[in-house]
């Protein structure tokens, strides 16, 4: 077994629990974490004792997305009106953004099932990780969202595939929060369970899958995943990827500059307040649920 630093790898009950393990940063994704995660997927795929992978996050959330401090290229020396980091050419920037560290198709095309176990925040890139798993179980406190679309970043076509055209656009162009109930309604998750039963629910599925011969599971996974690829998912994701590069490079001064300034002069909290303040209350956020009298 490898020596992982930013994830946990715990074999149990015919499967393995891979835990994104940076709870102090709500499991924000770093490049080194992604590297470990993909290595862990390979390790689990090659281990005949492991029939299914369960992916979760440590602490109170699943994953808050890409770590804004280490992976985003968001620098205090942005050059305006160019909308580019000082002393970088567009060619440099293009090369930078085209590195596909997330490799979400690696999850999707894995030959063993991956089950996402989501509690609390699943934001941005964290939400994509959850969506690309083959089965996703949400705790009742789960919140999915892509707030990054508010500061010049992109959604993924996987939302459209799962939630359908109108639902995906509704949330993909605003970054609005979605609670577990709405996620279930639009098809982002398979089931919602109480938070204290989340892992038990996932590993009971693992054990059911383990009763089916591995070759049959592999073929039935492929009928779905390769079928979707053939239907055009791979094409859509190929375009998606270019769109993602484009989205990250197209920064408009009047939208972006105040956010960057808030971030570097006053910190992340002020930045998030400035970015997300206009959108509050979130229609499906945990607080608005209380306001709606649902709790």
């Amino acid at each position: 077994m490898s020596d992982y630093k930013e994830i946990l790898y715990q074999k149990q009950r015919r499967g393995v629990l891979i835990t994104l393990n940076r709870p102090e940063a709500l499991n924000a994704i770093t490049r080194s974490m992604l590297k470990e995660f993909h290595q862990a997927l390979d390790e689990a795929e090659a281990d005949p004792e492991i029939r299914v992978i369960v992916l979760t996050g440590a602490g109170r959330g699943f994953c808050s997305g890409f770590d804004q401090r280490t992976t985003s290229g968001r620098r205090r020396d942005m050059q305006w009106p160019q909308g580019m980091p000082t002393d970088m050419s567009t060619a440099d920037l293009l090369n930078y953004w085209r590195k596909d560290d997330a490799r979400l198709l690696h999850i999707f095309e894995l030959t063993k099932p991956v089950i996402g176990a989501v509690r609390g925040w699943a934001m941005g890139g964290g939400c994509w990780l959850a969506l690309f798993t083959h089965i996703t179980i949400a705790a009742d406190d789960a919140v999915f969202a892509q707030p990054e679309v508010r500061h010049g970043s992109n959604t993924t076509f996987m939302w459209t595939l799962l939630a359908g055209f109108k639902n995906a656009i509704r949330y993909g162009i605003t970054g609005d929060h979605i609670d577990a109930g709405e996620a279930l309604r639009i098809g982002l998750v398979n089931k919602v369970v109480p938070v204290d039963q989340l892992l038990e629910e996932c590993f009971s599925i693992v054990e059911r899958i383990a009763h089916v011969p591995p070759e049959t599971v592999k073929i039935n996974l492929a009928i779905s995943t390769m079928g979707l690829n053939m239907m055009g998912l791979r094409d859509a994701l190929a375009l998606d990827f270019e769109m993602s590069v484009a989205a990250h490079m197209m920064l408009r001064e009047e939208f972006r500059r105040p956010l960057d300034e808030a971030r570097f002069n006053q910190g992340t909290k002020a930045y998030l307040q400035l970015r997300d303040g206009p959108f509050q209350p979130e229609p499906f956020g945990p607080r608005s649920k209380k306001q709606r009298g649902l709790e």
Partner: protein, 294 residues
């Protein structure tokens, strides 16, 4: 009939000859010319006397591609975009222009309900090569030279090269911008036939007259079986991605590759720009001069 300024529109022998007519600029394509080609195609589409369109260039050459003369705003280095502009603005501009003017026009010609026959002699470079290659039938004179030298200064190829010449042949030429003579073009499948230069239009209109013996509805359906089928097979998807990549290619200028070209143009005009750009690639493996040396 409309009054065209940058093209000629001459009905003859069951067809129409549309001639790119800026011979002083080797028929370089500007927005006026491209707009008039569209307009002329729309005119020919509704004229029941016209059964096929022949597209050629004036003065013995097809076209050298997009017109790159004229002043461009100076580039801010190292950013590689025009001074005082922003990446978001330039990006939007390129993408919109590519969809509307390049892909939009290309799809209009591709899906055109009458055959368009490209009659290519002399230079057929850059975007003009795309224009010639997306014609339904392309006949080359023996002096035709195809090439995409724009890839040498931070621009892109078009997937039609891959669709016609195949993966390896297309890459061989689109990574370098190297010239392709008529014979090599025939070998790779870029053109249907190579004929002596003085027989080019005769050969094309002989073909138009053969087409005219077939009922128009049948011709239309058989065109669609090929063109719509290619779209269904994925050509449309490939072109959609192509449009994105074109925008990126044109904006990712790198100082060490591009600045000296821009400086040369500022100092010595288009000629100096071309000299700086193309000299390292000479002699061209299939250029007309290389042939004479053999």
């Amino acid at each position: 009939m409309s009054n065209y300024k940058t093209i000629l529109y001459e009905k003859q022998r069951h067809g129409v000859l549309i001639t790119l007519n800026r011979p002083n600029a080797l028929n370089a394509m500007n927005q006026d010319l491209l707009g008039e080609v569209d307009h002329a195609l729309a005119e020919a589409e509704t004229d029941p006397e016209i059964r096929a369109v022949v597209l050629t260039g004036a003065g013995g050459t097809f076209s050298v591609g997009e017109d790159i003369s004229g002043d461009e705003p100076a580039t801010a280095w190292p950013y590689g975009i025009p001074q005082g502009s922003s990446l978001v603005y330039e990006y939007n501009r390129f993408r919109d222009a590519d969809r509307r003017d390049i892909l939009g026009r290309q799809l209009y010609r591709w899906e055109y309900p009458k055959p368009i026959i490209g009659a290519v002699s002399g230079w057929c470079l850059g975007a003009a090569s795309w224009l010639a290659l997306t014609c339904h039938v392309t006949i080359a004179a023996d002096d035709a030279v195809f090439g995409q030298p724009q890839v040498r200064h931070g621009a892109n190829t078009d997937f039609i090269w891959v669709a016609l010449a195949g993966f390896k042949n297309a890459l061989r030429y689109s990574l370098t911008g190297d010239h392709v003579d008529a014979k090599e073009a025939l070998r790779m499948g870029l053109v249907n036939q190579v004929v002596p230069k003085d027989k080019l239009l005769e050969e094309c209109f002989a073909f138009v007259e053969r087409v005219a013996h077939v009922p128009p509805e049948t011709v239309k359906i058989n065109l669609a079986i090929a063109t719509s089928g290619m779209e269904m097979m994925g050509l449309r998807k490939a072109w959609t991605l192509n449009a994105e990549l074109a925008a990126m290619a044109q904006l990712s200028k790198r100082q060490e590759f591009n600045k000296h070209l821009e400086d040369a143009k500022k100092k010595g005009g288009v000629e100096a720009f071309l000299e700086a750009r193309d000299k390292p690639f000479q002699p061209e493996p299939f250029g007309p001069k290389a042939k004479k040396r053999k």
